[in-house]
Amino acid sequence: MSTLIKEDILVELLATTGTGFEEVRAAGKQAFQVQGFPTNKSEEYKFTAITKKIEQSIQNFAPAAPFTVTAEEVNANIFEGYAGDVLVFANGHFAPALSSTIEGVEVSLLSEKSSIALGSIAKPEKDPFCALNQSSFEGGIFISVPKKAQIQKPILLLNFFKATAGQVIQPRVWIEAGDFAEVTFINHSVNLSDIPYFVNKVVEVKGGVNTQIRYYKLQNEGKNVIEVSNIETDIQKDARFTSVNISLSGEMVRNNLTLNILGSNSEGNMYGLYLLNGKTHVDNHTNVDHTVPHCESNELYKGVLADNSRGVFNGKIFVRQDAQKTNAFQQNSNILLSDDAVVNTKPQLEIWADDVKCSHGCTTGQLDEEALFYLQARGIGKLQAKGLLLYAFTGEVMDYITDQSFREYCIAQVQDRLGSNL
């Protein structure tokens, strides 16, 4: 594929960005140069031609400039009844004046302090976009939940995006949760302009012993978004990590979600829902790495695809030789509402231990016409009947969201979409 884009971006991005983290950035740059932008021959991106999409939609590879978000914009985008804290970002840059001071949590700009080891969890050699971000991220934030801190209220990471002349946004987040800490993050993004942009975000989460970390993410920024997100988490023993990812719009979205289970008796949960229409393309690549015995992982991704949309699900589960007594479950289920919608789903289990329980399954089907008729025959309109059935199929994913106001917001968004022909 194009070498042009590679040089353009490197010249523009790498030249303009980044103060500090010279070594880190150099390592990122090198890793990116080795991998390059993925082509249609790249195994990990073969169903998601993101390089082409970036070439088509992004004219100016310069970073989108920071800008000022207003308090009204912030308030208008907080869920009704939300009682948690809020951290506001504008094109990846932290806006402290609009953000809460969170009791018991340290929040600061990324700095080269010793505990922050960018690239040590989300390793740049594993993914070109991860490497690109590491070479040229802008802004960035450090969130630290100290040992034993139980942060009851969720923390909303509210991202505002606005492409100006530059159309590239590369946020970076480092989260650490000390032993026995408990914390819930909600990541929500809002697009404030109608200029297309490419957001390439990396979040690293370092979870200690016995931590409880929840990370919820809602993607619904509309059609102009090309997004690659790398979220990678390490957890130690007796810990639990739960992710819920809901994708409702975007031009092309790629979510790389990785969990490394590094201590025994831990649990990882990954739940996802994608409702796609138009030409939206959403690719979820998940990866659970079981390296130690007596751990469990549960994974459930559900998709409803209309029009010409495309979904990709790739679920890797590694069970290393030492990871005896692992229980790993994975399920991906899809409903296609149109003949032109496509889903590619691939479970990828690699198991080296012999005493494990692993299962995976994927289904792709249509809406149950008999059930639809049954509901209509009771006087329920066709559109609403479809909505009821599709919600019955998808609703379970929302049940995993513990924060009530965010859950209700998601349910309303989803129901709104399901009742409106998608």
Partner: protein
């Protein structure tokens, strides 16, 4: 109330109904009997608006409206109710939520106010008593894991909730034990008024001891080949269908 004239319908190009004629007046109970595969459920589905069936000829008028022009949901809102021979299990849809949506959409269509949660629950309790259905069943997903008999009872419960003008019960008695049969029949009888009508599709005379029909029709090969009063059902019970088949087939060869 219902007037079916020369109704022909096919599925995937195969004709199933071949000229049905039937008149049902308010206050009447009609029983439709007939051997397996004769087209009884097809007739019920066509009346309810199942799109898989193509009506190739004929007319159906319901309260003076051309029924065939209406969507399934509008037929229901106009007062047609089909108790399915095989009610569908719908995991994830709560029975209560489903019923409330249905009742309120029907009311909205009729220009009536939506029932609020309290009024809806009151109505539900009342109708639950009528068909002696257990609250526990209704707290589950719609028909999910229900036994055959429970599903049938749930159909009659829904019928009670929606108070239709024309009820078509497709083998609601099949799979019911004797107590359930009595309860379901009682329900149907109590819902009967001089303004509504019932069509019961059944294989068994025993149902007709409880729900006494004004007319009995025999459907065979997509046509109503014999009509009579409740005595016809007794005769069928005794003699089976062969004599009717013979009658029809010999006529056909003349």
């Amino acid at each position: 109330m219902l007037s079916i004239k020369n109704l022909h319908a096919s599925i995937e190009g195969t004709p199933i109904l071949r000229g049905i004629n039937l008149e049902v007046k308010a206050g009447e109970v009609h029983a439709i009997m007939g051997p397996n595969g004769s087209g009884k459920s097809t007739l019920a589905s066509v009346l309810a608006g199942r799109e898989e069936y193509e009506v190739t000829e004929g007319e159906v008028s319901f309260k003076g409206i051309n029924l065939l022009d209406l969507s399934p949901e509008d037929r229901a809102r106009e007062g047609v109710f089909l108790a399915f021979q095989y009610p569908v299990e719908i995991p994830g849809v709560s029975s209560t939520n489903f019923l409330r949506t249905a009742v309120n959409q029907v009311r909205e269509y009729r220009g009536e106010e939506a029932l609020d949660a309290v009024k809806f629950l009151t109505l539900m309790k009342e109708k639950m008593r009528l068909v002696e259905i257990d609250q526990k069943l209704l707290s589950r997903s719609l028909n999910e894991g229900f036994s055959g008999g429970e599903k049938k009872r749930n159909e009659i419960f829904q019928m009670a909730m929606l108070a239709p003008t024309l009820s078509i019960l497709d083998e609601t008695d099949s799979g019911l034990d004797i107590d359930a049969l009595r309860i379901v029949s009682n329900g149907v009888n109590q819902l009967k008024t001089k303004d509504n009508a019932t069509i019961v599709v059944t294989h068994y005379q025993r149902l007709l001891d409880h729900i006494v029909p004004d007319f009995v029709h025999v459907l065979y090969n997509g046509q109503i080949v014999k009509s009579g009063t409740k005595e016809l059902a007794l005769e069928l019970e005794e003699k089976g269908y062969d004599w009717i088949k013979d009658e029809v087939d010999s006529k056909a060869t003349v």
